[in-house]
C-alpha cells in the first residue's frame, strides 16, 4: 500500500508522448522543474484529468484513477492565474467545492470563512473578485482548491504573475500551510531558486522523463 500520488510509466502528451513520467509523491511538496514548452503543464493536466494519458497508470492513495473523470479524482489545482469565478463573491468562490460535496450552505459558509482566515483574508467574504489584488486572488484560489479537502494538490506556476518579493513570501507560506494540512502537492515551475525555496524534493524534465535533482 502506498499513500499519495504515484505515476507509473505515465505517457503524457496530446498526440505523441512528450514525457514518460515515473514519480511517487508520498508527503509534502514535490517540485518539477523545466523550461517553457517541455510539457510540465501537460503533465499536471494529465494528473488532473483534463488531458487523457496516452499510456501507463496513475494511482492516488493506491487507487487507479488513470481514466476517472476530473470531478471524481479528488485532486485540486491552482493555476498561474487565479481563475476565480467572477460572478461569485470571495466566500462563494471558496464555498463552490464544498457545495458540490453536498455540504449545506451554512456549514459550507462556516468552513469557507475558516479557510479565508487561514489564508489571511478574513473580512473579505462579501467582496467581489474585482476588488482583490493579484496576491489576494491567488490566496482565494488556494483556499478554494483546498476547501473540498483534496487528496492531492497541483500547483502550475501559481506565483509567476506576482512580483518577486510577494512570490517568495507566498511560496514559503503556502508550502508551510500545505504541510500543516498534510496535503501532498506537485508544484511545477521554471525557476530553480523558487523550487529550492519550497522543497528539496525536486525533479527536472529531461530527455522526455523526470530526473531527480540532487543538491
Amino acid at each position: 500500500m502506498s499513500q499519495g500520488l504515484e505515476l507509473r510509466d505515465l505517457n503524457i502528451g496530446y498526440t505523441s508522448t512528450l514525457i514518460t513520467a515515473n514519480l511517487q509523491v508520498c508527503d509534502g511538496i514535490t517540485v518539477i522543474l523545466g523550461p517553457s514548452g517541455c510539457g510540465k503543464s501537460t503533465l499536471l493536466s494529465t494528473i488532473l484529468g483534463s488531458v487523457p494519458a496516452l499510456g501507463g497508470s496513475l494511482l492516488l492513495n493506491d487507487v487507479e484513477i488513470t481514466s476517472a473523470p476530473i470531478h471524481e479524482r479528488r485532486i485540486g489545482m491552482v493555476f498561474q492565474d487565479p481563475l476565480l469565478f467572477s460572478h461569485l463573491t470571495v466566500l462563494q468562490n471558496v464555498m463552490y467545492g464544498l457545495r458540490r460535496l453536498g455540504i449545506s450552505k451554512t456549514l459550507a459558509a462556516k468552513k469557507a470563512a475558516e479557510l479565508l482566515e487561514w489564508v489571511g483574508l478574513l473580512g473579505y467574504e462579501t467582496r467581489s473578485i474585482q476588488e482583490l489584488s493579484g496576491g489576494q486572488a491567488q490566496r482565494v484560489a488556494l483556499a478554494r482548491a483546498l476547501a473540498p479537502e483534496p487528496a492531492a494538490l497541483l500547483l502550475d506556476e501559481p506565483y509567476s504573475s506576482l512580483d518577486a518579493e510577494l512570490r517568495t513570501r507566498l511560496a514559503a507560506e503556502v508550502a508551510e500551510l500545505l504541510r500543516s494540512r498534510n496535503v501532498v502537492a506537485v508544484h511545477v515551475t521554471h525557476d530553480e531558486a523558487e523550487a529550492r525555496s519550497i522543497t528539496s524534493e525536486i525533479f527536472r524534465v529531461a530527455q522526455a522523463s523526470l530526473e531527480r535533482v540532487t543538491k
Partner: protein
C-alpha cells in the same frame, strides 16, 4: 453629413408620415385586435427564441471551444440560413414538412428556429470563444460534473450574450412576415403581417399606421431591455481572453462533438436539399420542367414578364442597394472615426434595426409613394428601402475593421506633410476599397432576399424574386409551386455565391 441627410430624409420623413397618418383614424377604431395579435405574436416569438437558444447553445459551444475536421465548414453552413431570404426558407419547410404539418404555429416556430440558429451561434459563440476554459477545469476539479460546471461557471459568463442574442431573435420572430405568410394561418399573424393586410387588403392606412407605431414601441422596449440586461451582465465579466481551440480530448468528448456537428449540418442542409429536390421533381418524377419554365411568361404571376424577369429586377435593385448602402454605411463609419458627431450619425443609422421592414415600407409608401412625390413608378424606392435596412449591417461590418486599422499610419503621413484627408486615405484607403466592396456585397445580399418592404413598394408588373415567390405560392397548381422552388433555388445559389465572395474578400484583407 451625407449619411445623416440620407437617413433623416429617408427614415425620418417616412416615420413622421406614419405618425401623422395615425391621427386620421376614425372614432370607431379599437386597439383590441392589434393587442391580441401582439400577444399571440409574442407567444410565438418566445417559443421560437427558446427553441433557437436551446438548439443553438450546444452548437455554439462545440464551434467555440473545439477544433475538429470540418469545423470551418460547419460554422459557415450554420450561418447560411440567416443570410438566405426568409421566403425561401419558408418554402423549403413547406416542401419538407408541408405534408406532415398543416400551416400554423408549429411550422412557423420551426422555420423561425432554423433561421435564427445562426444569431445564437454567432453572438454567443463569439463570447464563448473568449472564455477561459481553465475555469471549467477548476470547477470540475472542485467536484462539478460537466453539466454542473456549465450551469455554475460557463452559463453565468454567457448570460449577457445569451440575453443580447435572444432579444434580437425575439424581435426577428415577433416582426416576421415572409415565414408567417407562407407557413402561417389566421392564428399566427404578426403585427407585421397585419400592417400588410390593413394596407393592401383593407386599404386602411390610418389603422396600419397605428399598428406600425405599436410594433415600433414594443420592439424598442424589447431591444432596450436586451441591451440593459446585456450591459448589466457585461460588468460582471471583467476578463475575456482569446483561447486556442482544442481538439476533443476524450472519447466521450469526440463523440459529443461529432454528434452536435452532424446534427447542425443535417438541420441546415435538410430543408435546402428538400427545396432542391422539389425544383427538380414533379408528380411524374425527375424533371427540369420548372427550371426551363423560368423564362416563360406563362409561368409568372404577371402577363408582363417571366419569373426570370423578376431575377433581373432583383439584381438591378441589389446592385443599386449595394452602391447606395455601401457609400452611406461606409460614410457613416468614417464619420465615427473622423467627426465629433459621427457617433450620433452611426446611432441614427442603426435605428432601422428596431424598425421593421413593413413599417419602413409603409412609411416610404406614405411619404414618397403618392402625389406630389410619387416615386413608386421609378426604380429608386425599393433600393432606398433596402439600403436603409442594409446600412446598419454595413456599419456593423465596416466599423470594427476601420477601428482595428493602425491609426499611426495617418499620423506618420501627417508628419510627412500630408493634408488630413490625404493622411486619412493613406492609412485607410487600401482597406476601404476592400471593405466597400464587401459591404456593398452584403447590402446586395440583403436586397436580394428582402421581402417585407418590397411587398409594400413593388409594382405589380415588376416584382422582386421574393415577392414573385410568395405570389406564385398563393396560386394553386403544381406548376406554380415547382417554379417557385426553382426560383427560390436561384436565390439560394445567388446569395451563397455573394456571401462566399464577401468571405473571400475578408480573407484577402487578412492576407494583406
Amino acid at each position: 453629413m451625407i449619411p445623416a441627410l440620407f437617413l433623416i430624409a429617408l427614415l425620418g420623413v417616412p416615420l413622421t408620415n406614419i405618425f401623422q397618418r395615425s391621427f386620421d383614424v376614425g372614432t370607431s377604431f379599437e386597439i383590441a385586435p392589434q393587442v391580441s395579435i401582439a400577444f399571440s405574436a409574442a407567444g410565438q416569438a418566445l417559443v421560437s427564441t427558446v427553441l433557437a437558444t436551446c438548439i443553438g447553445l450546444p452548437i455554439a459551444g462545440v464551434l467555440a471551444t473545439h477544433s475538429f475536421k470540418g469545423r470551418a465548414f460547419t460554422q459557415a453552413l450554420v450561418t447560411v440560413p440567416f443570410v438566405l431570404p426568409t421566403v425561401v426558407i419558408a418554402l423549403a419547410f413547406r416542401e419538407l414538412l408541408g405534408s406532415a404539418l398543416a400551416p400554423g404555429f408549429l411550422l412557423v416556430v420551426i422555420a423561425h428556429t432554423y433561421i435564427n440558429l445562426a444569431v445564437i451561434v454567432r453572438i454567443v459563440g463569439a463570447t464563448w470563444q473568449q472564455l477561459d476554459p481553465r475555469k471549467v477545469t477548476v470547477a470540475r476539479s472542485l467536484g462539478a460534473s460537466p453539466i454542473r460546471a456549465f450551469i455554475t461557471v460557463t452559463f453565468p459568463e454567457l448570460k449577457a450574450s445569451i440575453s443580447s442574442a435572444a432579444s434580437v431573435v425575439f424581435v426577428f420572430c415577433f416582426t416576421s412576415l415572409g415565414v408567417v405568410l407562407v407557413l402561417g394561418n389566421s392564428s399566427t399573424r404578426t403585427l407585421e403581417s397585419q400592417i400588410l393586410r390593413e394596407t393592401s387588403l383593407l386599404l386602411d392606412f390610418p389603422t396600419a399606421a397605428i399598428t406600425a407605431l405599436l410594433q415600433l414601441v414594443l420592439v424598442s422596449c424589447v431591444l432596450l431591455l436586451g441591451a440593459r440586461t446585456s450591459l448589466k451582465r457585461t460588468s460582471a465579466v471583467p476578463t475575456l481572453r482569446f483561447t486556442r481551440l482544442r481538439p476533443a480530448s476524450s472519447k466521450a468528448q469526440r463523440s459529443y462533438v461529432f454528434v452536435i456537428a452532424t446534427i447542425a449540418c443535417s438541420l441546415v442542409l435538410l430543408p435546402l436539399l428538400s427545396l432542391a429536390y422539389a425544383s427538380l421533381h414533379n408528380s411524374a418524377g425527375w424533371t427540369l420542367q420548372w427550371w426551363s419554365s423560368l423564362a416563360s411568361v406563362d409561368s409568372g404571376t404577371t402577363r408582363l414578364g417571366s419569373p426570370l424577369g423578376a431575377i433581373g429586377t432583383s439584381l438591378r435593385y441589389a446592385l443599386l442597394t449595394g452602391v447606395v448602402a455601401g457609400f452611406v454605411g461606409v460614410g457613416a463609419a468614417i464619420g465615427v472615426l473622423t467627426h465629433r458627431l459621427g457617433r450620433a450619425v452611426a446611432l441614427i443609422a442603426l435605428a432601422p434595426l428596431g424598425i421593421s421592414a413593413a413599417t419602413l415600407g409603409l412609411g416610404l409608401m406614405l411619404a414618397y409613394g403618392r402625389p406630389p412625390l410619387d416615386l413608386r413608378s421609378s426604380d429608386v424606392l425599393i433600393p432606398i428601402a433596402h439600403s436603409i435596412v442594409a446600412v446598419p449591417l454595413v456599419i456593423a461590418v465596416v466599423l470594427p475593421t476601420l477601428l482595428a486599422t493602425d491609426r499611426r499610419f495617418a499620423i506618420a503621413a501627417s508628419s510627412l506633410g500630408a493634408s488630413p484627408t490625404r493622411a486619412f486615405f493613406t492609412a485607410y484607403g487600401p482597406i476601404l476599397r476592400i471593405v466597400m466592396i464587401a459591404a456593398g456585397g452584403l447590402a446586395a445580399c440583403v436586397s436580394l432576399g428582402e421581402f417585407g418592404a418590397a411587398s409594400f413598394l413593388t409594382r405589380s408588373s415588376d416584382p422582386t424574386v421574393p415577392v414573385q415567390i410568395v405570389r406564385l405560392l398563393q396560386r394553386p397548381g403544381e406548376q406554380s409551386f415547382g417554379v417557385a422552388c426553382a426560383l427560390a433555388m436561384v436565390l439560394v445559389m445567388g446569395t451563397i455565391a455573394l456571401v462566399a465572395g464577401i468571405d473571400a474578400l475578408g480573407k484577402k484583407r487578412w492576407v494583406r
